[in-house]
């Protein structure tokens, strides 16, 4: 059934007519219950957002007008049937809502938490045209996925008859997991190779538990395992085994979702001082290695005056982590203004509530250290906004002669990542851009080496979980078609 046929079903029709549109739009948008900011800024792993109750979710679902042309769906990179899942919540069939999500999204509990909804589904909601707040699609998505998980009755998607065709996946992050799920559904024998000792990629090493608990990721992984997906950790494709080894081993298709593993630095004076590190290092120590736990062997600096350079989600994750590890002063240093920040609106809001200082329109130009080589100060250049640049955002311009020297004992550099070079270096014939991303056909995600498909940050060079998942799903569809055409 397509969207229109679904929408015409008697239950949907009845539900739609049960309330006037005006009544629906008059309901104020739900507020997500949250942990107290003061309490949570000292609690390392407790999730900030507590989730909606059934009553809250059903009321919020009433706000949705069940539009004939749901623009929200156009904003979703994986094309979730948003009105159908929302209306299922409204009528109290949470299980059906969860099932709807899983038809198109491999990781709904994850996306409900980390997607930039304000730029996607919610950014296209009809309510905005009426100067009202959009339907809280993200909160509702999380609600349905959590409800299903907590009910203990997780539906395992139907898996086709095994076709005995082996498919390899490189990397177990969002792109790889989404791809693996779709291929398993189609009956392929899927093996996921992960370089680290944990499965989940950026969902484990990057995003902190206070935003995305590990348990949620693990349930999604178990779900894939119960669909027959195999996982092999501690295996670096391109190093431990080669793409050729995989081919010799009978793998008929390879999907590379190896991520954007290489942190960028700014190449300014003092950047290699002790106490200056990438957000990847900082977050990997705290998240993957659990370094702040006294039982962990991995050390981590617990700075008292911490500056995080950047304005993205990773910067917000880092600065809020620093606060939780005991920073008295935790600062965001960002060269543009708050309006241009790429971070999710909710992360900026949460950070502010937790007492994070925002030094916008400032850019570090040098770090100063003591005789032990430890960072003690940062020198910031004051900036102002100029004309829009190629990103469409107003570009930062130096205010000549205006600088500030600020005391710090730890600096986390979060100015972006470059693609992990391991695969591009080790696969012959792969086409690679000057930024190190793998070139693929944008529709099929197939690379210059026909057996190799790729998606996520290794192709995009630093994007979002949901875009990576969208790539994984597209790659699965086209690899399936390609393999069928080979037979």
């Amino acid at each position: 059934m397509d969207h229109n046929e679904e929408r015409a079903l008697p239950w949907r029709d009845e539900l739609r007519k049960s309330m006037k549109a005006k009544e629906r739009t008059d309901i104020p948008r739900v507020h997500m219950p949250e942990l107290d900011p003061e309490y949570r800024s000292h609690s390392r792993v407790e999730e900030v957002n507590l989730g909606l109750t059934s009553e809250m979710a059903m009321l919020e679902a009433k706000r949705c007008l069940d539009c004939a042309n749901p623009t929200c769906m156009l904003g979703c990179p994986v094309g979730i049937d948003i009105p159908r899942f929302v209306k299922n919540i409204e009528r109290g069939d949470f299980s059906e809502a969860a099932k709807t999500l899983k038809e198109t999204s491999a990781l709904p509990a994850v996306c409900g938490r980390v997607c930039p909804q304000e730029k996607q589904c919610e950014g296209q909601c009809i309510h905005l045209k009426m100067k009202k707040e959009p339907v809280a699609v993200g909160y509702l998505e999380r609600f349905a996925a959590d409800w299903e998980r907590e009910s203990g009755n997780i539906s395992v998607p139907e898996v086709a008859e095994p076709n005995d065709i082996k498919i390899a996946v490189v990397g177990s992050g969002p792109a790889g997991l989404a791809f693996a799920g779709d291929m398993a559904k189609l009956g392929y024998e899927v093996v996921v190779f992960e370089a680290l000792h944990e499965i989940g990629g950026v969902l484990k090493y990057g995003i902190p538990e206070f935003r995305l608990p590990n348990e949620i990721v693990d349930v999604e992984i178990q779900n894939l395992q119960s669909m027959g997906v195999h996982f092999i950790t501690n295996c670096v494709v391109g190093k431990t085994i080669s793409i050729k080894d995989l081919e010799d081993d009978g793998f008929k298709g390879i999907f590379v979702g190896s991520g954007a593993g290489l942190p960028r630095f700014m190449n300014i004076k003092g950047e290699n001082l002790v106490g200056v590190m990438s957000s990847n290092e900082y977050l990997t120590r705290v998240n993957l290695m659990d370094a702040a736990n006294p039982h962990s062997d991995t050390p981590v600096f617990k700075g008292k005056k911490v500056a995080v350079i950047g304005g993205g989600n990773t910067a917000m994750d880092s600065v809020r982590t620093a606060r939780r590890l005991g920073a008295e002063k935790a600062m965001i240093v960002y060269r543009r203004s708050e309006e241009e920040m790429p971070a999710r609106v909710e992360e900026v809001k949460h950070a502010k509530e937790e007492g994070i200082d925002f030094l916008t329109l400032h850019n570090p130009i040098e770090y100063v250290g003591n005789e032990q080589g430890r960072v003690t100060h940062m020198l910031l250049q004051v900036m102002k906004l100029g004309d829009p640049d190629e990103s469409g955002r107003r570009s930062p311009v130096e205010v000549k002669g205006e600088t500030k020297l600020i005391e710090v004992d730890e600096v986390v550099v979060s100015v972006g990542v470059s693609p992990n070079p391991l695969i591009p270096q080790s696969v012959e014939g792969l086409e690679v851009t000057k930024w190190g991303t793998v070139v693929v056909n944008n529709d099929t995600m197939q690379s210059a080496v026909p057996i190799v498909f790729a998606g996520g940050d290794i192709v995009r060079g630093g994007a979002t979980v949901i875009l990576a998942m969208g790539d994984g799903r597209r790659a699965a569809k086209s690899m399936d078609e390609w393999l069928r055409s080979q037979q």
């Binding site: 680290l196 090493y205 593993g261 190449n267 002790v274 990438s278 990997t284 062997d297 981590v300």
Partner: protein, 276 residues
């Protein structure tokens, strides 16, 4: 999980392990390293591969007991399992017939030098190995080095074995007596710094294999970054070997000491718990 096949003490604090890792044994080359993690809450530490046996499917690691993580590894016995082991990582050593090569190694750095010496010899080089340690008991792998080198010069700080003096004295004696085309050095950072200073004076091209702090070992974290020729490089993916004359060893030494206070504290805690 990788099984330890054998354990051998080179000295009280330097231990050789043979570990089951068939895929790594097959794909590794001289100069490669692995990341090792012991226990669920263990730390990931880099260790250079000292040897491998493709038939047996094993790799050889030589570990010096230093802090918590190396102590935990050294406490394992044959039959035990290493929780996580991944590799081979880094770029392999570039091997060709350079002519005469001096391999200068100190302490536990001798182990990762072993496969490089063997590969250089096989490629037709005249290999002169300078083995250095504080004292006689700390000289390791001498027999194997002799089998693969044209000459082995042993140096001890206290003169208890071989010649009395530092590794640099040994290297300098060779440079003074014959033409040297390349020097390779592996050992403590401070040792490599002085070898590099010496060979720079004589304009002998020199490679140093750096062992910095790493978390993932695959290019992801950047903890291992060093300045080489004024540019920041990652030891894990750009190295571990670099033109020694371009390496900023002072910065590297400074960064190596970055976690020293936290590590000392953790080690004291760990040592007190195992004594109980």
């Amino acid at each position: 999980m990788n099984k330890i096949i054998s354990k051998e003490y080179f000295s009280a604090n330097v231990i050789k392990f043979e570990v089951e890792a068939p895929l790594i044994a097959k794909s590794r080359k001289a100069g490669h390293f692995v990341m090792v993690k012991v226990g669920q809450k263990g730390e990931r530490i880099p260790l250079t591969i000292a040897d491998a046996d493709i038939q047996k499917g094993t790799i050889t690691l030589v570990v010096q007991k230093m802090g918590v993580s190396s102590s935990k590894l050294c406490a394992l016995e044959a039959g035990d399992f290493i929780t996580d082991l991944v590799g081979p990582l880094g770029k392999a050593t570039h091997i060709e017939n350079f002519g005469t090569v001096v391999c200068a190694c100190g302490g536990v750095g001798t182990a990762p030098m072993m496969p490089i010496v063997a590969a250089l010899k096989k490629a037709g080089n005249k290999v002169i190995t300078v083995l250095a340690a504080r004292t006689k008991d700390l000289i390791i792998l001498e027999e194997q080095m002799r089998e693969n080198s044209d000459e082995v010069i042993v140096m001890t700080d206290d003169g208890s074995y071989g010649n009395k003096g530092l590794v640099t004295n040994g290297v300098e004696s060779v440079i003074n007596r014959e033409n040297v085309d390349l020097c390779v050095t592996i050992g403590p950072a401070i040792m490599m710094k002085f070898v590099s200073q010496l060979t720079k004076k004589y304009e002998v091209p020199t490679l140093a294999s750096l062992n910095t702090i790493m978390v993932d070992g695959t290019g992801m974290c950047g903890a291992c970054r060093v300045s080489v020729g004024g540019k920041t490089k990652f030891v894990c993916v750009d190295g571990p070997e670099f033109d020694a004359h371009q390496v900023d060893f002072d910065e590297m030494l400074m960064r190596l000491g970055g976690y020293r206070d936290i590590e000392r504290e953790e080690n004291e805690q760990y040592q007190s718990t195992i004594k109980k």
